[in-house]
């Protein structure tokens, strides 16, 4: 007996999907890997472990971590407010979350730099109390926070919407305090979504270029990000060198995405069992 499928046209749409993935994702990735493979392993290793490259991983990774942590907390709060409260201007606020998606990142970079430079609206008062943002690692973090915020809000929001307030009411009826309810009822249910949002945001931060190079200072060894180093190698007509660095970024991002998806499925099983 042939297997029955609920969706009509599945073989066709599956075929389209596979072709799409092959052409749009796999092919460019393969091209990058192929370029990198024109190097011997020793050459590749030298490029990706040079002190300057290591410094960019440190700068990019730590900044991305800080930005993601910030967004995990405030993006979560943002989503919470959007779902659970009614107030005038809520729809507008909801729309504004997507602005970092729509804005060309270079424009965001230029704007943020103007705001946070020491003569800017935010930069001037901050400079008064001795905090420099533009052209320091802090600037990189700010740019990353800006471009990655929607990932967390938009992954958490729909799950929160599904989450019936009755759960909270039930918890409180059974004598749980607010914190307990949050920790033992709400957070576990939201965890997979939050985890996905965090990893998307983090990976986005790793790859961000346009918004950052304007505000970063781009000093080798201190405020230079990995994608800029790849860009610099291209400027030297050193395509394999650029591809080698890109490969490292690609592997890092893929690893994070795969780990997240593993963690999610483990968490899903764990949750059903308990």
């Amino acid at each position: 007996m042939p297997q029955r499928r609920v969706l009509p046209g599945l073989p066709l749409s599956l075929g389209v999907t596979l072709i799409y993935v092959a052409l749009i994702i796999a092919l460019p990735v393969a091209a990058v890997l192929l370029k990198a493979m024109s190097l011997s392993f020793a050459e590749f290793w030298n490029i990706v472990t040079s002190p300057r490259a290591l410094a960019t991983y440190r700068v990019t990774g730590l900044s991305a971590l800080a930005a993601t942590l910030f967004n995990a907390i405030f993006g979560f709060a943002f989503a919470w407010v959007l779902v659970r409260y009614d107030f005038p201007g809520k729809r507008l606020l909801d729309t504004l979350v997507d602005v970092p998606f729509a804005l060309p990142t270079a424009v965001a970079g230029v704007t943020l730099t103007a705001l946070f430079a020491k003569n800017g609206w935010f930069g001037a008062p901050l400079a008064q109390i001795g905090i420099e943002v533009a052209y320091t690692p802090l600037g990189i973090i700010i740019a990353m926070i800006f471009t990655s915020l929607p990932f967390i809000v938009r992954t958490v929001q729909p799950v929160l919407e599904e989450l019936d307030p009755e759960f909270e009411d039930a918890a409180s009826c059974l004598g749980a305090g607010d914190l307990d309810t949050m920790r033992r009822v709400i957070l576990p249910l939201l965890m997979p979504a939050l985890l996905a949002g965090i990893s998307f945001a983090f990976v986005r931060c790793l790859g961000e270029f346009g918004a950052i190079i304007f505000i970063a200072g781009n000093q080798p060894m201190s405020t230079e990000i990995t994608s800029l180093l790849a860009f610099i190698r291209i400027e030297e007509f050193d395509y394999p060198g650029a591809a080698a660095i890109a490969t490292v970024m690609l592997l890092a991002s893929l690893t994070i995405l795969i780990l997240t998806s593993l963690a999610q499925s483990w968490y899903g099983r764990h949750l059903t069992r308990s």
Binding site: I47, K118, N119, G120, A134, M221, F231, F237
Partner: protein, 334 residues
């Protein structure tokens, strides 16, 4: 009879050839980042002259970005009829990598195929509060210097080489001392923008740094645009000659049939009219009458060349600007 056929065939070919490659009514000039306004003026004048001479309308399209980025775009298929760059290496690569430009391009036009020249010069804040006069002042601890990343900007490559040339003379070729000088200079740069325009914004709009180093022509343009009461020009006693090489992209013009226009466009840059426009934009020129007329605008400066100090562009590119070249090492050791 046979001869007749051959002759007829040749004649047909001779007729067919120009018919196939009919002169287009537009050419594309691919140029560096900060030459946008200059070529807008040049194009206006050239189009008028072309119309007067041939009665035909012509359009000169402009494309501006970092010089190396432009070279890459052409290698990857951008159909430029002419290139007007700020680095010899960016034209050379079109010849080396793609065979797009004939190998003898530098001898096809006067002055190494550079219709005008300039050099890295200083723009300081009004009244020159830090008293910056010469390259030596740039490594002082109280001075913040702005110029783009020599890795991504041709403009900054000249700055780096000019500083190097200064240090080489000041320390009589002592490598260690030259390296220290450059390291100190880099340490004084708070921001490495990727291109000349970005560095200008950092200096002018963000009010970061005490001195901006860029081509003399650009320092004038900035002072004019953003207020001469805000900035002072400082011409260092010595600097490095920066040539602005131009070339017809042979492969493209032969394909498009635009060689005649492209060549006369480049020759126009050398004409008294072209040189006058170029000089008005603060570039130094060779045409004697124009030089005489603008004498007061251009203070004297001693210029050394890449050939004299570094033994030519191919050598300097390989030793200094490649992956893990001297520049990379100095960046890391900073």
């Amino acid at each position: 009879m046979k001869k007749l056929i051959v002759a007829a065939a040749l004649a047909a070919l001779a007729f067919a050839a120009p018919a196939k490659a009919e002169e287009p009514n537009a050419i594309l000039n691919v140029s560096y980042d900060i030459a946008r306004e200059l070529y807008a003026e040049i194009n206006k004048a050239f189009i008028a002259k072309y119309k007067a001479e041939t009665g035909k309308d012509l359009e000169v399209k402009q494309s501006h970005a970092g010089s190396s980025k432009q070279a890459r775009a052409i290698l990857e298929g951008l159909e430029a009829d002419v290139v007007t760059f700020n680095q010899v290496t960016d034209v050379q690569i079109l010849s080396d990598k793609g065979g797009l430009v004939a190998a003898d391009w530098q001898t096809r036009l006067p002055n190494n195929a550079s219709p005008y020249y300039s050099f890295p010069s200083f723009l300081v804040r009004e009244g020159n509060p830090k008293g910056i006069k010469d390259w030596g002042d740039l490594v002082r601890e109280d001075v913040k210097v702005i110029f783009p990343n020599p890795k991504t900007s041709g403009n900054a490559r000249y700055t780096y080489l000019a500083a190097w040339a200064y240090a080489k003379e000041a320390f009589q070729g002592d490598e260690t001392k030259i390296h220290d000088f450059i390291k100190k200079l880099f340490a004084n740069v708070p921001v490495f923008d990727t291109g000349g325009r970005g560095a200008t914004t950092t200096f002018v709009e963000r009010e970061t740094g005490d001195v901006l180093i860029t081509f003399e022509a650009e320092t004038r343009a900035i002072a004019k645009e953003f207020g001469e009461d805000k900035f002072d020009l400082v011409t260092p006693p010595a600097s490095l000659l920066a040539e602005f090489p131009v070339a017809v992209v042979d492969k493209v013009v032969d394909k498009r049939g635009s060689r005649a226009i492209a060549e006369s466009y480049l020759k126009f840059l050398y004409s008294p009219e072209g040189q006058e426009i170029v000089a008005q934009f603060g570039n130094r020129v060779h045409e004697p009458n124009v030089v005489e007329r603008h004498k007061a605008d251009f203070p004297e400066v001693k210029l050394v060349t890449v050939e004299d100090v570094f033994g030519g562009w191919p050598k300097v590119t390989k030793e200094h600007f490649g992956s893990d070249g001297i520049l990379d090492q100095l960046f890391v050791a900073r």
